[in-house]
Each structure stands twice: as C-alpha cells, then as structure tokens.
Subunit: 243 residues, 2 copies
C-alpha cells in the first residue's frame, strides 16, 4: 500500500485535505501542541481545547475545579489561571487535573479538525514516540500546521519536515508526498543541524515570543522529553492509551 | 523605508494579505502566468481573464473576433479555440488580438485579487524585467501563488524565492520578509542550480503535465524571453506601458 503524507500549512486550507480516513497530526510548535505534550508528560488527566476566550470562561464557571489556561497574541488572557507556557506544567498542582486551554492558533485548528476521526498532537517533545506509532498505522497522514493567524509558519513546517523524514527513512511503507511535504523536508534538511539557530535567525514567531517567552521557546525545541501521544477524543484531549 | 515582501502560497489565503497599497505579483508558472507573458511578447493586445468556462463562452458569443483559450485540469476546454499553452502564441494570428482566457488556477487567482489596485503578472519568462520595475516602486510586494486547486505548489514557490532573492540582492531597499518568503528563498537557493531537474524530481504538477505538455514545461522554465510586464487593469490584462 502506498501511504500519502500531506502537509497542510494553514487551518484555513484544511477543507481541501479533509479526509475521515487519514490520521491528522496537529502541530503548533510555538506553543499549543508543545504545551499539550508537556501537560500530559506532567500528569494532566485531560485537556479541553476551546476556540474562544468566552467559551473557556463559561466552561470554567460551571467547573470550578478545572484549571483555566490560555493566551491571545502570546500573552496570558486576563483573569485566567495560567497562560500557554509548556513549562508551567511541571507544577504539581496539575497532576490528574482537567485543563481548559484556548490559544491564538493551536486550539482553533483543533476546532477545525475536530470532525475527523483520528487526530493526534505532535511536537518535537514527542516526535520519536509519535513517529513510531504512525509507522504502525495503515492510514494516510495529514500534518496540519497551526501557522500564525492562518499564515505559513517556519517552525511548524520544520516539524512537518522532520516527522515526514523520519517516516520515510523507516522504510516500512512506500509514501506519496504532496508539494508542501516535499518543501518541508527540504527545509528540515537545511535546518536540522541546529533548528534553534535556524528559527532564531528566520522565524517571525520566534521574534514575537523571544522577549517574554525565551525559556518556552528553548523548551519547545527539545526532542523527545515525552513518550506520550495526546489524542483528540470527542470534546477533549486524552492520552492515546486511555482512549 | 522598509518594504515588505510577502508570499501568499494560495489564493484561498489571500484575504489575510489583502492590501490596497501593495503591488500584487500573480504567479502560476504551470502555466497561466507564463502563458500571459508569452502572449504579450508575441503581440497580443489584451487578455480578458475569466474565472469560469461558462463566463468565457458567453463573452465569446458576444465578441466573435476574440480568441477563446483555456483549460481545465490541464486539458483544452471542449469547443475552445486553444488551450493554455504558452507556445501557441507564436502563431501570427494572435497579433493585436484580444484573448479570453480561463484556467484551473491562474485566472481564478486574478479574479480573487482583482479588487486590489496594482496587480502585475510574473513568470520566469519576464523575471528580470519585472524585478527591475519592482525595485523602482515604493510599495510593499505580495507574491500571490496560484498553487494547485488551492494547495501549495513547488514551482510557484520557487519563482517567489527567485524573485525575492533578486529584489533583496539589488540592495535598493531594506526588506522585511514573512515566513513564507523566507521559506521560498531557502527553496530557491537549493533548486537554483537547475530548477528544471528540481521540479522534474519533485513537483506534482510537473507529473500532471509532462505526458502531454512537456514542451510547455520546458518553455515555462526559460528565463527572460520577454521584457514585458502585463498588468491587470479593470476587466482585462494589458501591457504596463499601455495602461
């Protein structure tokens, strides 16, 4: 069987790729998908992603025990418990908790993809574990990049290239690649020597975050600090093995 | 003044970039923008781009002297005079004629961008002339790639990278680049040694066209066979100097 690996560079193009038989890998390196991976690595039980701030506040008001996290334009939303930093989840208060999360780009793309059956969360933090799992699935793969407000982002494309490269090199399947996937692999091959330096020199979102979130950026670019694969299930994100 | 160079990789994202003060460079390397450049180089007076086959037929029925050209999915539309090959315009019958043109991707993106003031047509065929003109304009630049049915295309991205690279190296302005522009420049720097081989090995649209349109592909990848710059003006495309 020839498996397709497609990269969708913006949630706004996802209707062109929409396919109930593919596995969707949701990516928002800076920072939602990295934050979600970090949260599960640190013992969070469940994350409820919501598209809007209003929806998040409403959900919290009905469930006082939930932890309310989120950002808009990189900044913690006023009156929220926490922002969207992947580092905060090392706090023990998160263990076994349900988190409500809303972000500028990442949780919106979860909303857009939600009608699909198979949606997992990818980041550099869980890339090896995720790719090992994907290699053993007999499905096509769509890597959905959150981008920045609908536009192309270098960090999400780099991840797409890294993941595609790992899948192809495993040689378990024959793959058919779309133009966006091929582009991402070329970019990854160029940047892989030091992805931090590449993004520091080039990525606009790095520029937006570096002033207040330099520690977050460095954390999001770590490889394989987690073996866990978050999966979107009905209205929330859980761990793959628990679904 | 710092000038922005942005690359919009799909007409479906153009509303995110929409800006009446920028110059829009429309690109559909395989084949609409190359065909339009070739047509003007060979003496066509005016091209009326239309989004749908129906609209094209209606316009022809009212103007029997117009030449009706167009394709869908790479094939000449039934009952049209010609398809979308840039080579056909070497025929002398086109001199001083008005052409109606509809294509799968290219003319649709003209339709989408039409509300903007400044839209020019770019291809490898006129890249030096176009870049010399752009360097002397004090406006931001948006390179709008037609892509393939809304998706990312390697050939349009390569052109965007080539054009951006020329503009930056001219050093007449300081430029601010978005992530998609930076991506296109990295891709171009990788592929520039031989763009034909790069696209032959990688581009899905090359695969679609190579069986019946190999001569067109080779023609579309030629540099600087024209010094002319087509510009969208009201309902039609004319030559820049005539507008």
């Amino acid at each position: 069987m020839i498996k397709k690996i497609q990269v969708c560079i913006s949630p706004k193009l996802f209707n062109l790729y929409d396919d109930n038989n593919s596995i969707i890998v949701l990516v928002d390196i800076f920072r939602a998908s990295s934050t979600i991976c970090s949260a599960f690595e640190n013992g969070v039980k469940e994350i409820i992603p919501v598209g809007s701030v209003q929806e998040a506040i409403k959900l919290k008001s009905k469930n006082k025990e939930f932890v309310l996290c989120g950002e808009r334009d990189g900044k913690k939303v006023k009156n929220f418990d926490y922002g969207n930093s992947p580092i905060i989840f090392s706090k023990k208060i998160f263990v076994n908790k349900t988190v409500i999360l809303t972000t500028t780009n990442g949780t919106k793309s979860i909303d857009i993809a939600r009608k699909c059956k198979n949606i997992v969360i990818g980041s550099f933090l869980n890339i090896t574990s995720l790719s090992n799992w994907l290699i053993n699935q007999d499905k096509n793969i769509i890597i959905l990049c959150a981008g920045w407000k609908g536009k192309f982002s270098l960090e999400d494309t780099l991840f797409a290239g890294n993941l595609s490269n790992i899948l192809i090199k495993a040689e378990k399947h024959n793959y058919s690649l779309c133009d966006a996937t091929i582009n991402s692999i070329y970019l990854w091959n160029f940047a892989k020597k030091d992805k931090s330096i590449f993004l520091k020199e080039n990525a606009s979102h790095y520029d937006r975050l570096k002033k207040n979130h330099n520690d977050d950026i460095n954390f999001c670019l770590k490889d394989d600090i987690s073996t866990k694969i978050p999966i979107v299930s009905n209205k929330s994100i859980k761990l793959l093995r628990n679904v």
